[in-house]
Amino acid sequence: MNPKIYKLPFFENLLNLTVLALLALLCLFPILHILALSFSSATAASSGKVAILPVEFTAQSYQFVLENVAFAKSFLISLQRVLVGVPVNMLLTILVAYPLSRSQAEFRARGFFAWFFVITILFSGGLIPWYMVIRQTGLIDKFWALILPGALPVFNVILLANSFRTIPKELEEAAAMDGAGHWTILFRILLPMSLPVLATLTLFVAVSHWNQWFDGLILMNSPDKYPLQSYLQTVVVNPDPRMLTERDLGLLKVISNRTTRAAQIFIAMIPILLIYPFLQRYFTTGIKLGSVKG
C-alpha cells in the first residue's frame, strides 16, 4: 500500500501520536507503579511517595517473598501445571480439531460431535456436581485435578479446525491419492502447515493455565497445593474485622504489607512477561483466524 495515502497533516499526526503514546502509557503505568512499589521501603509506600520510581530503594520485599516457602511452592506448582497441562491440551485439541475440520461427506458424524463439544461451553451443572464428579474420579487434592477437567479447550478446537480448513484441499487430496490415511494427512501435511496457529494456541493455553485460580482454590485440600494464582487470591483477601478476636491479632499483623504484595504480584507476572515477545509475534495470526475467518 502506498504510504502517501496514509500521511496525516502534521498537527493531526502529532495529536494522533500523542494520544496513542498516552494510551500506551496508561497500560504501562500501573505495572511500573507496582514494580516501583515492590522495590520501595514500606514507609515510603504507605506514605504514598512512590510513583513509577522506587523510593528508598530496597529489595527487602523480594527477600521476604523468596524466603516464603509457600509462595515458592505454589510458584513451582503453577510451572508444573503449565508444563503438563499445555501438552495435554494441545494434543487433545489437535486430535479433535482434525475430525471436526473434515467435510460432512468425509465424516458424517461431524455435526453431531461439533455440537457435542460446543454444548459444553453453553451449559454447566454448577459447582457442586462438578466438584462431586471430580471427587468421584478421585482427583480431589491431586495435581491432575488441575489438568484433566479442563483438558479440552473447546474454543481452541474451533480455531484450529477453522485454520485446518483454510489449507487448500488439493494437498490432502493428492496425499490421499498416494494412500495416505487420516493420521498421515494430519501429522504430515496439516500440522506442519499450521505451525503459527499451533504456536499461538500453545501460548494461549500456557497463559490460561498460568492464570487459573478458582479450581486450585476449590479442589486442593491444603494450601501448600495451591497454584500461584490461588495462593495470591488468599493473600489479597482481608479478614472481616467483625469476626476478629484477640486471638486473630497475629493474622492482622501478617496481612497486607503493601510492598510485599506488590513484589508477589510482580513475580507472578514475570513468566508472562518472559513469553510475551513470542506471544505477540504469533498474536495477529491467532486473532485473525480466531475471529475474522474467511
Binding site: 514500606a42 504507605s46 527487602q60 521476604f64 524466603e67 516464603n68 516457602v69 509457600a70 511452592k73 459447582l127 457442586i128 466438584y131 462431586m132 471427587r135 487434592d141 482454590l217 476449590i218 486442593m220 485440600n221 491444603s222 494450601p223 501448600d224 495451591y226 488468599t234 483477601v237 482481608n238 479478614p239 472481616d240 474485622p241 467483625r242 469476626m243 476478629l244 478476636t245 484477640e246 486471638r247 486473630d248 491479632l249 497475629g250 493474622l251 492482622l252 499483623k253 501478617v254 496481612i255 497486607s256 504489607n257 510485599t260
Partner: protein, 564 residues
C-alpha cells in the same frame, strides 16, 4: 497465648515482625492431607514427654479408634521442627493418651473453610468430628447430619467441662435443639466484644482536657483533637475519631459511640416487654446526627467509607488520630503502633460515657459462634466429650507451666501456638477478667507470688513500665494494669453492659433476609454520616420492616418466649 505476648514483642521493629510473620506464613502447610495417623511407634516414643505431669486422663480407647476431621490454618499457624498439622503434640496426645487417632481429611486456608466444608459435606464427605458456625449447625441439623450428644455428655462430661460450659449462661442453650445436645459450643469470653473508649492520654494532657465524663465531652475532645494540633507538630494533620468502612468490629468501631446514645445497633434487646432490633430504634437518630456533624467538621476521615482496617491502622500508627472506640485488647494492636512511632503515646481506656444522666451500657454479643459436632452414625460420639474433658481438666485452667508449655505454647517461642492444631479449644469465659484481677492485686501488693508463668511475665512487664520508665510496656498497663481496660469489662459484666438478647440459631426469615437488611443498614449509616439527610434513617426503618424486618422481629420474639 501468642497474641498477648505479641503485645510486648511488638517492640521489635516492624520489619522484623514481618519477617517473623513470613516465617509463620511459610509453615502453614501440610505434606500429605491424608497422612496416616501418628503410628503407635511415635505414640510410645512420645509418652515419656508426659512424665512428671499430673494429667487427668480419661480411660483410653484400646484398641485406638479412628476419628476423621477437617480444619483450617491461617497465616499465623506455625509448627515446631518436624511437626505438621497431621502430626503434632495434639494428634500424638490424642493417640497415645486417649486412644483416638485424629486424622484431618483436609486443611485449607481459613478464608476457604466454609466453602470447602459446604462442598465436601454436600458431596457426601462428612467428617466424623468438625467445627461449624451457627448457620451450618442449623442446616446440618435439619439435614439430620448431626449426632445427638446428650447421653454421651451426661455420661462422660467432667466437672470442669460442665463448669466451663455453665459459666456462659447461654452456652448449653444454643447447642441444644429440641431437647437434644447436638454440639459442644466453643466458649470464650463474651464480654470481650464490648467496646471501650480509647483516647490518647498524652494528647488530653497536652491540651489540658479533663477525662471525658459524658458523650458531650467526647464530642468536644474530638473537636479539639481535630482543630488544636494535639500532637504539637504545628501541622493540621489530625482527626477526631477513627472509623473503618465496616463501621462496627473490634477496631475503630462505632458500636461504643452508639451505645453512648443508648442505641444498640445490630443486637436484639428487651424494650417494654418485647424484643426489638437496635438499629431501628429512635436512639440511633441523635447518634447519627452527631456523627454527621463530626464528618462535616472534618473530625472523621473523609475517606472512612473505603478505609479498611489496615488503612485505619496506618492512620493510628502515624499519630493522625487520638480517639477510637474498640475492644479491650486494642493496645496489643493497632494502638501499640502509635506508641512505637511516638514513645510518649499512651492510650487510656474509658468506660463508654453517656449522653445523659442514665449511665451508658456497653453492648456485647455471645462469643459462641461455632460448635464442635459429630457426624450422625459415628460409632464413638463420646470420644469428642473425652477430648473436651482432656482440654478442660488439664489445660485450660492449668497453673502448671510445664503443661502449658507442652500443650498451649512456649513463651520462649511465642510464634508457635500449639493449641491452634486442635479444634477442641474452649476458653474459660471469665479467665481474662480473673487474670486481670490477680495482676492488679499483685501490683498493689508488689508481690507476684501465685501468678502463673504467663501472668508473672505480664507483672514483670508492668514493673518495667512503672519502675524503669520502659514506656513500650504501656500495652500491658493499659489493659491488665490498674485503670486498664479489663477493669471496665468487669463493670460491663455487671450493670454497665447489655448482652444481645437473641443468641439462637438464625431464624428462617433471618437466614434469608438479614444479609440484605444488614447491607442496607451499613449503607444507610455510611451515607447519613457522609451528609445525606437524616430522614434517610426513617425511610430505612420503614423499608427494614417491610423487607422482612417485621417478620424477623416476630420470629425472634417467639424464640425469646421459649428461651427466657
Amino acid at each position: 497465648m501468642r497474641t498477648r505476648i505479641s503485645g510486648t514483642k511488638r517492640l521489635s521493629t516492624l520489619t522484623a515482625l514481618f519477617l517473623i510473620s513470613i516465617l509463620i506464613l511459610t509453615s502453614c502447610s501440610s505434606p500429605t492431607p491424608t497422612a496416616p495417623p501418628p503410628a503407635a511407634g511415635q505414640a510410645e516414643h512420645s509418652t515419656d514427654i508426659y512424665e512428671g505431669l499430673n494429667l487427668v486422663v480419661p480411660n483410653r480407647y484400646d484398641p485406638p479408634i479412628e476419628m476423621s476431621s477437617v480444619t483450617s490454618v491461617d497465616a499465623t499457624v506455625k509448627f515446631l521442627e518436624g511437626d505438621d498439622i497431621h502430626n503434632n503434640i495434639w494428634t500424638r496426645t490424642y493417640a497415645s493418651l486417649l486412644g483416638i487417632n485424629l486424622r484431618y481429611d483436609w486443611v485449607v486456608d481459613a478464608s476457604m473453610y466454609d466453602q470447602k466444608l459446604g462442598l465436601s459435606v454436600n458431596s457426601g464427605d462428612i467428617p466424623d468430628m468438625f467445627v461449624v458456625d451457627s448457620a451450618q449447625f442449623l442446616t446440618y441439623y435439619e439435614a439430620g447430619l448431626l449426632a445427638d450428644l446428650t447421653d454421651a455428655y451426661e455420661a462422660e462430661a467432667s466437672d470442669a467441662t460442665r463448669d466451663i460450659l455453665s459459666q456462659d449462661p447461654i452456652a448449653m442453650k444454643v447447642a441444644t435443639i429440641d431437647g437434644k445436645l447436638l454440639g459442644i459450643p466453643l466458649t470464650d469470653a463474651s464480654v470481650t466484644s464490648a467496646s471501650v473508649l480509647w483516647i490518647r492520654q498524652d494528647w488530653l494532657d497536652r491540651l489540658g482536657i479533663p477525662a471525658p465524663t459524658s458523650m458531650a465531652d467526647v464530642l468536644e475532645i474530638s473537636r479539639r483533637f481535630t482543630e488544636e494540633d494535639p500532637d504539637g507538630d504545628g501541622v493540621d494533620d489530625t482527626i477526631g475519631l477513627a472509623v473503618t468502612k465496616d463501621l462496627f468490629g473490634a477496631i475503630a468501631s462505632l458500636q461504643g459511640f452508639f451505645n453512648g446514645y443508648h442505641a444498640y445497633p445490630g443486637i436484639w434487646f428487651e424494650r417494654d416487654g418485647s424484643i426489638v432490633y437496635g438499629s431501628v430504634q429512635p436512639e440511633m437518630r441523635d447518634a447519627l446526627l452527631a456523627l454527621q456533624k463530626m464528618y462535616a467538621d472534618g473530625q472523621i476521615d473523609r475517606e472512612f467509607g473505603v478505609k479498611d482496617i489496615n488503612q485505619v491502622t496506618e492512620t493510628i500508627s502515624q499519630g493522625e488520630c487520638g480517639m477510637e472506640f474498640g475492644v479491650w485488647w486494642n493496645p496489643y494492636h493497632p494502638l501499640n503502633l502509635s506508641q512505637a512511632n511516638d514513645p510518649d503515646a499512651y492510650w487510656q481506656a474509658y468506660a463508654i460515657p453517656s449522653i445523659d444522666e442514665t449511665p451508658a451500657k456497653s453492648q456485647y454479643t455471645s462469643a459462641i459462634a461455632s460448635f464442635l459436632v459429630v457426624r450422625e452414625g459415628y460409632e464413638h460420639p463420646e470420644a469428642l466429650i473425652r477430648m473436651v474433658n482432656f482440654w478442660t481438666d488439664n489445660i485450660v485452667r492449668s497453673q502448671d507451666d510445664n503443661v502449658r508449655n507442652l500443650f498451649l505454647g512456649n513463651l520462649d517461642n511465642p510464634d508457635v501456638v500449639l493449641y491452634k492444631y486442635t479444634p477442641v479449644v474452649l476458653w474459660e469465659p471469665t479467665a481474662g477478667i480473673k487474670t486481670g484481677r490477680q495482676l492488679r492485686e499483685a501490683l498493689a501488693k508488689r508481690d507476684p507470688t501465685g501468678l502463673n508463668r504467663e501472668a508473672l511475665w505480664r507483672y514483670r512487664i508492668m514493673q518495667a513500665y512503672f519502675e524503669q520508665g520502659t514506656k513500650e510496656a504501656w500495652v500491658e498497663v493499659a489493659t491488665n494494669g490498674p485503670n486498664g481496660s479489663v477493669v471496665i469489662l468487669e463493670d460491663v459484666l455487671g450493670d454497665r453492659g447489655l448482652m444481645n438478647r437473641f443468641y439462637g440459631m438464625p431464624t428462617p426469615a433471618m437466614a434469608e433476609k438479614m444479609p440484605t437488611l444488614s447491607t442496607m443498614e451499613s449503607e444507610m449509616i455510611t451515607k447519613i454520616i457522609m451528609g445525606e439527610p437524616i430522614d434517610q434513617f426513617d425511610r430505612f426503618v420503614e423499608t427494614w420492616h417491610q423487607m422482612g424486618g417485621a417478620e424477623i422481629t416476630e420470629e425472634v420474639n417467639q424464640w425469646a418466649a421459649s428461651n427466657p
